[in-house]
Each structure stands twice: as C-alpha cells, then as structure tokens.
C-alpha cells in the first residue's frame, strides 16, 4: 500500500478509495524473468559463437577483453531487440496496459483540480507561450478548462528573457482572457535547477492541486489527453505518476525529420515491449506526465548526493530518481503509451542533439551513485542502469574497436597465422571468414529486426500506414533512416565517449550555443565541431588500410560517418532538404500527413509571428530598456515583484540577493548615467529585482534632461517618438 494516503484536500474534493490493480508479485517477476532471460539467452548463444571465433585465432588477454566487451555490448543490443520483438507480438495481442485495466473514461473529475506547469529557463519565450496557448485552447474545447490552472515557472537568469516572459505572458493572458487561469512566477534564484523549480511551485501552491502535469518548454498536449490523464489517475488511486510517450513533432530540418520519423515509427513497439516488463514500475522522463501531488511532495524531495561533482551534489537527471522514489514508497508509475495527443520537439541538428546529450550524460552517469541506494525497487535499478549504459556503451564500443585493432596489429606484427584450429564451428561447417560473417549478420539482424518488425506492424494497421504516407514511403524512410544512423552512430560514439570521460574526470565540456544560419548549421561551425571527428576517421582509416585491407572494408561504415561528418552535419541541418524529403514522401509522420488541431494552430500562429518579426532575436538589454521606460512593462514587472514579497521564502531570497540595500540605489544611478553596458548581469538582475527602485528608475529616466542620461538611454527614449 502507498505510504501516504492519496490527496484528501477538502479544496479539491474527496479522493477516490484505494484499490490495488498491480500484478501479483510472482506474475510480475515472471514477466521480468522472461524478458531479460530472452536477451540473456540470445547474448549467450551469440557470445559462444564469438568466443569460438576467438578460439580459432588463438586465445590472448586482449581476446578475453574483446569477448567481455562483446558480451556486454551484445546484451545491450539484444535488450533493444527484445523490446522490439515483445512489443511487436504484444501489439497484436492487446496486452495488459493501464488504459485497459479499468473503465477510466466514465470517471468523473468533478471537484478535481490539476496544475499544468511549464518550467522554463532562458527559453524561446514565444514558442513556450504559443505551445501553452495551443494546449489551453484545446483544453477549452473539452469543456473542462475550469478544472485546470496553468503555471509558467521561470528560472531564467537572462534579464532580457525575464522581461520578455512577463510581456508575452500578459499578452497571452489578455488575448485568452485568462487572468486567474494562467499564472507566471519567476524564482529569485534558480538553485537545484528544474527539480528545485518544481519543488518551489509545490511548496507555494502544490497543496491546491491533487495532480500536476509537467510540460517541457516545447511540449504541447491535447486537451482530451489531459482530461483522460486526470481520469486515469482518479480511476487508479495507487498510481503516483503516469507518463505519456510524447511524439516528436514540428521538425523542419532533415536531421529533425529523420529523428521524428524514427520516433513515430519505432517507438510504439519499443514502448509496448518496455511496458511488458515494467508494468506499474515504469519510469518518468521529466515531462508530459501527470503526477499525484501529495505522493510526490512526500517522497520526491531529492537529497544532495554526498561528495563532489561529478557524482556528488545536486541530482541532475532527477526524473528517473523521482520515479524510483515513488516506487520505493509503493506508488505505481505507469506509461500510458497508447494515449495520443502528447507532443514535444527535438533538436534540429546533430550538434544541438549532442549538446543535449552532454547534459543528459552527466545526469545519467551520476545515477551510478543512486543505483545502490537502499530500498529502491529492483526495476528502478534496471531503469537507472539502462540510463547509465545508454552513454557508457559508447566508450565501450570505442574500446571494443580499438582492442580489435590492437589484436590485428599484434597478429600482423608477430606474423601469427590467423586461423589456427577448427573447433566448435565444424558443427556448422563454416570457414573462419564465414564464421566472422555469420556473427556480423547476426549482430545486424539483432540491430535491424525491431525496425523490420515496426514496418510489419505498420503493414497490419491500415490507418497508421496511411498516416505514414503508405508502406512504400515508410519502408523507404526506414532504409534512409538506417543509412543515416549508420553514419551518425560513430559520431555519437566519439561524442558520448568524450562526455563520459569529461564527466568521470569532472572537467566540463565548454559548449556555447551553435552558430546557425537562417537554414541550419553554418559551415564554419560544422568545421569547428567536427574537425576532430574527421581527423580521427582519416587517421584510423589509413592505419587500418595499412594493417589489413580486407579489414578496412569492414571498418568503412565506422570511418565513413567520421570522415563525412562536416558535410553530414551541415546538410542534415538544412530545412530545405527536410522539405525536399517531405515532398518526395520520405520520413512522413502522422502529425505531418494529418496535423492535429492543436499542432496546426501552433504552427499557424508561429508562422504569423515569424512574419511579423516577433521571433527575431531582440537587441541586447532590450528587456532592461522596456522595464525601465515602458510604462506598462514597468508596471507589470513591479506588480509581480510586489506580489512576490508576500511569500516569506521569496522575501527572504530577495533580501539575501541584496534588494533594498543602498548599493542598489547607487547601481541605478550608474545605470542611468553610464548605461547598461557598464553593469554586470548580476547587477542588472539585482536592480530588476527591486520593486522600490524600478518605479523610481522609470520616473527618473523620463524626468531627467537628456544630457544627464547615458547616450544609450537617449537612443532608447527616441524610439518612442514617432
């Protein structure tokens, strides 16, 4: 039974009674055993073949290392394959899933309040607000809008973003007539990042809501899906969290569209496979999920990990850990993978994708500490381990390839015969080369089988087939996606290896925002990001060519991705090529062929705003200029600051920041006399946090003769003259 009773807050009505629907422990264990044992069986058999191949060429310490690496790496791809196989079979047999455990659609949500929270940190504000608008309007159509409140929870540290967020928020509220329905809050300090942001929300308003749904900055959710999630939670009072599987949407570049296509085509069978063994012991991906507030508040306040970075300190990838903590407290965590209408966007370029991986890598590696925590469920440890190996696999692959190269060099150097004995394989009657080829074919089959199964699954579903532009188009897309993945995978290997090494050595990888042109990554930026990859590919390729020409051809797929990384990165970042592919029917997804209303509305609004120039980057310090000079922006900003002071925690944080001290007055004088270029960002933030100084600044900037103001202010004021 859950360690805390479900919410019984009188403000949100009585909570439903507890009825457990979890599988009996034995049946659950059987599922886990069956699933993982399949992967172990497959790994065992293929590893035997590989060991035999090594035996034929003669045992050596490096051979043993190679075999160990092979076993680990093959087990990882075997697990992926089994997810596909189990998922494929289960999709044909309508397996046990949360949405068919009980009739949830007739569940009433009368008296239930839910908060939709949008934690943001220096994001593209227009996109955040338009995503929120699309969700709001969709929810309005369900007739259940009054059951939901929206919160934009800002952690932005860029003064200009802060002001823009307030401006866009008020515009949104006015245009939707949603004052008192859509709220905005910026934290004074962004300690503990996103998890701290959510915790701050829960500490301030959480008790008002039985549930909250976490959005990402680029998330959109259909109103009906949100209502269904609340109904699901009401129907399953033991569920602490229900994660949806967001569809990747709105990609324009070739890279983005390939990722989007892969997500939409392959995810259904993979997630169904995942659900087979996880059941009510699923995972949380940090957004597009509904959470039972009280369960979360009582169990998921994350502790600081002991020791120093990279493993100690704040838990970075908090979502996996929060799911583990809910499970530890006997709440269930489910994946409602069959609920449509949950969307997110993905990086549009290889470089942006790697940049995101850099962040996630450190968080996942940190889970190596958490995985040992006492009291965690075994399945939570499995989720954490999979996250770790998602990144650790890359250096292991690199090590595997290097070990193989070493063996090749050693053989060549010593002049030893390559095939020494006939052993196990005489039962199969294959030569040494055929033996190696057989293992290669099996590996490829294990890698590609889930993709083939996803296509077969599509072939059985006429509606989905049409949504992907027909089976031929989908198959063409899958082939092209596979070819691209083959080129991209070696780069991922190098990138992830670098990230893992940087994490282990506690040295950060400095990575500023990539330089983009209007249509993707600039060539100069691609050279800067990929010159090392190209060089590694060339040197490695030449070295293998000199060692063994036959082996060289086996390594061509690995080297090719590295050698062509610069043009690959640039070309796949191009929206034009993405559109070309779309016109020729490649990588079509259901959301492209038949855009859902909420996405169509979002895209239409974004197109209008782009045409109006509202998405274009603003000049530096434009936010500061607005907050001081614009009478409305100043009033909004000051009103929000004054309201903030009513919360003792915020008032304390403002005081700690230095608000109200004489220094702020001196900084204001400096700002007027010398302009914002003479102030550091922290000083600007301090001024902008002072609700008493800002009205004074507003008055002074307009009142003082131009000659006493910095030239920058004179220019800004002139912009108001028409």
């Amino acid at each position: 039974m859950p360690s805390v009773p479900p919410n019984s807050n009188p403000a949100t009505g009585p909570a439903p009674s507890l009825v457990m629907s979890q599988l009996p422990r034995v049946r659950r264990g059987w599922r886990v055993f069956l699933f993982y044992s399949s992967a172990v069986l497959l790994t065992g058999l293929v590893s035997m073949l590989f060991a035999d191949l090594l035996w034929r060429t003669g045992w050596s310490p490096s051979g043993v290392i190679l075999l160990c690496l092979f076993i680990v790496l093959f087990f990882l791809i075997a697990m992926g394959c089994m997810h596909g196989v189990f998922g494929f079979v289960l999709r044909l047999t309508n397996d046990r899933r949360l949405t068919n455990l009980r009739d949830y659609l007739s569940q009433s949500i009368e008296g239930v309040s839910t908060a939709l929270v949008f934690p943001i940190h220096n994001e593209a504000v227009v996109r955040v607000c338009e995503g929120l608008r699309a969700t709001y309007e969709s929810l309005e159509k369900t007739g259940c809008l009054e059951r939901f409140d929206f919160y934009i929870l800002s952690d932005s540290t860029d003064p200009d973003k802060w002001v823009e967020e307030e401006q866009r928020w008020i515009e949104l509220v006015q245009s939707l007539d949603a004052l008192g329905r859509i709220y905005y809050r910026r934290r004074v300090s962004n300690e503990e990042k996103k998890s701290g942001n959510i915790r701050d929300f829960l500490s301030t308003w959480g008790s008002r809501y039985r549930y909250f749904v976490v959005f990402d900055a680029d998330s959109v959710m259909r109103g009906e899906t949100l209502v269904n999630l609340v109904k699901l939670m009401e129907a399953h009072p033991q569920a602490g969290l229900v994660q949806t599987v967001p569809a990747l949407v709105n990609a324009e570049s070739l890279f983005g569209r390939i990722q989007q296509f892969a997500n939409r085509l392959y995810a259904p069978i993979f997630i169904t496979g995942l659900n087979f063994w996880a059941q009510g012991f699923g995972n949380y991906w940090g957004h597009n999920a509904i959470i039972r507030t009280e369960a979360f508040m009582q169990n998921c306040d994350l502790p600081q990990l002991p020791g120093r970075k990279p493993f100690g300190g704040q838990i970075l990838s908090h979502d996996f850990v929060e799911a583990a903590l809910l499970l530890k407290a006997n709440w269930e965590v489910w994946m409602a993978y069959d609920l449509e209408g949950s969307y997110e966007e993905a990086p549009e370029t290889m470089v942006e994708n790697a940049r995101r991986d850099r962040r996630w890598c450190q968080g996942n590696m940190q889970h190596f500490m958490v995985i040992w925590a006492k009291g965690l469920r075994g399945l939570s440890r499995l989720h954490l381990a999979q996250g770790i190996f998602g990144y650790l696999a890359s250096p292991l692959w690199l090590f595997f390839l290097l070990t193989f190269n070493w063996m090749l060099w050693f053989e060549g150097h010593t002049g030893l015969s390559k095939i020494t004995v006939h052993a196990f394989t005489p039962f199969l009657s294959v030569t040494g080369t055929e033996h190696a080829f057989l293992i290669f074919v099996i590996c490829m089959a294990v890698l590609f089988l889930p993709k083939v199964l996803a296509l077969v699954d599509l072939a059985f579903d006429p509606e989905r087939r049409r949504a992907f532009g027909g089976l031929a188009n989908a198959a063409g897309g899958a082939v092209a996606e596979t070819a691209f993945s083959a080129l991209h995978a070696p780069l991922q290997m190098l990138w992830h290896s670098k990230f893992v090494a940087a994490t282990l050595l506690a040295t950060g990888v400095q990575w500023g925002p990539p330089k983009r042109t209007a249509d993707g990554i600039a060539w100069s930026e691609a050279v800067r990001q990929h010159w090392a990859h190209t060089l590694v590919g060339l040197i490695w390729g030449v070295a293998i060519w000199r060692l063994d020409r036959l082996t060289f051809w086996w390594f061509v797929p690995v080297m090719a991705g590295m050698v062509v990384s610069i043009p690959l990165s640039v070309l796949t970042s191009r929206a034009k090529l993405g559109q070309e592919a779309r016109r020729s029917g490649l990588f079509l997804t259901p959301e492209e062929t038949t855009p859902p209303l909420e996405l169509a509305a979002l895209r239409a609004r974004m197109a209008i705003l782009e045409e109006e120039g509202q998405i274009a980057p603003r000049p530096p310090d434009s936010g500061l200029a607005d907050v001081v000079l614009d009478p409305y922006v100043n009033a909004i900003h000051v009103s929000l600051l004054r309201e903030k002071r009513q919360n003792p925690a915020y008032a304390r944080a403002l005081s700690d920041l230095g608000v109200g001290q004489p220094r702020v007055q001196a900084l204001c004088e400096k700002l007027l006399a010398e302009g914002p270029a003479e102030l550091r960002r922290e000083e600007k933030l301090l001024i902008m946090s002072d609700a008493d100084q800002l009205p004074w600044l507003h008055r002074q900037a307009w009142l003082r003769p131009s000659a006493t103001l910095a030239r920058w202010w004179q220019t800004q004021i002139r912009q108001y003259a028409r």
């Binding site: 035997m48 959480g206 958490v370 009033a635 003082r704 004021i717």
Partner: protein, 191 residues
Amino acid sequence: MSETARIDAPGQLAGRPLEEWNGAYSKVESYFHALRVLNKVLLGQLVALVLERAMQRSASEPLRSATELAVEEMDRLFNEWFAQVLQAPPSGAEMLSTRGRMALLLADMPGRWQDQFLRPGPWPDEFVLAMRDGYLRAGPNFQLAQMTPRPLDLGPIATLTHWSGLPYVKMTMSWALFGLLLVLIFYVTHQ
C-alpha cells in the same frame, strides 16, 4: 495656451525659449506614445494639457528645465486621475502610479478607452469597473507547504553485504548458471 504663455517676449514661452518647450513637448509626447495613446487629436490635447500645467510652474521654478517640469506635471496629473478613477486610498505616488498603469493595460485603455484617459468623470461604468478590477495576479493565494528531502542510504558496501536482500537474486543466479553452462560447453568442445 494660458494667459501666462501669451504675455511672453518674442521667441519665448512662459519665460523660456521655445526650443526648451519643444524638448519638453517631445518627451511628453513620447511618453504618451509609450502608453499607446495613438489618436492624434487626443494626443495633442493631452500633451497641451500637461505643458500648460508645466508653464504655470515655470516662472516660480526657473532653475528647473521645462522637460523636468513637464514630466513632473504629467506624473501628477496621472496620479490625480488614477486616484479619482480607482478611488484609491492615500498611498505613495509610485505605488499609485504602478497600479494605475497596470489598470490601464488590463482595462485595455489603448484599445478601447483612449478617449476616457485623463478625462474628468463621470466615466462609463464598464470602464471604471475594468480599471478597478485591474489587479495583476501572478498566482493564486499562496498555500505554503514544506517539502523535506528524505535521506537516501547510498552505501554500496552496506548493500553489497546484503546479497540476499538484492532483488532478482534468483534470476541473476540462474543467469550465472547459464553462463557457467556455456563455459562448460565451450570447454568440452574445444578439447
């Protein structure tokens, strides 16, 4: 213009050069632009109203620039008007100014009520209501609660000393046996 303005010497207005008043005019007009008062007739009237008040003070405060006087008068005019419309209790000028500007925005003065702005009452009920309801709420009432981190016992040694307590130990053991079997087969077939 007022009597004060008319008795000036050539090239002067209220005892100051025309150029100085021109600067003041620009500043006041810019501020009204910032308030999105875009109707030219209304704009002209409001700027003239502000400047007239500034000119009345001009003779008694010769050390202060026309712009300063004009902006100060504009500020006063706004606050007097806000106090009337909002029926605000006596509070600091800056507090009232902020609340008033906020109310103008939320009541959509620039879009619907430009003609009412700074006009003496009575005003349309709808306008007054919109102005008085024009409070900005960034969030509902706080309902403060405390989340307390629960300590995690991370000691791997402590966990490793409790092998029997590890989950799926039987499953892991069966895999280990399977692995041993493979090693055995390999050994037998490679003699």
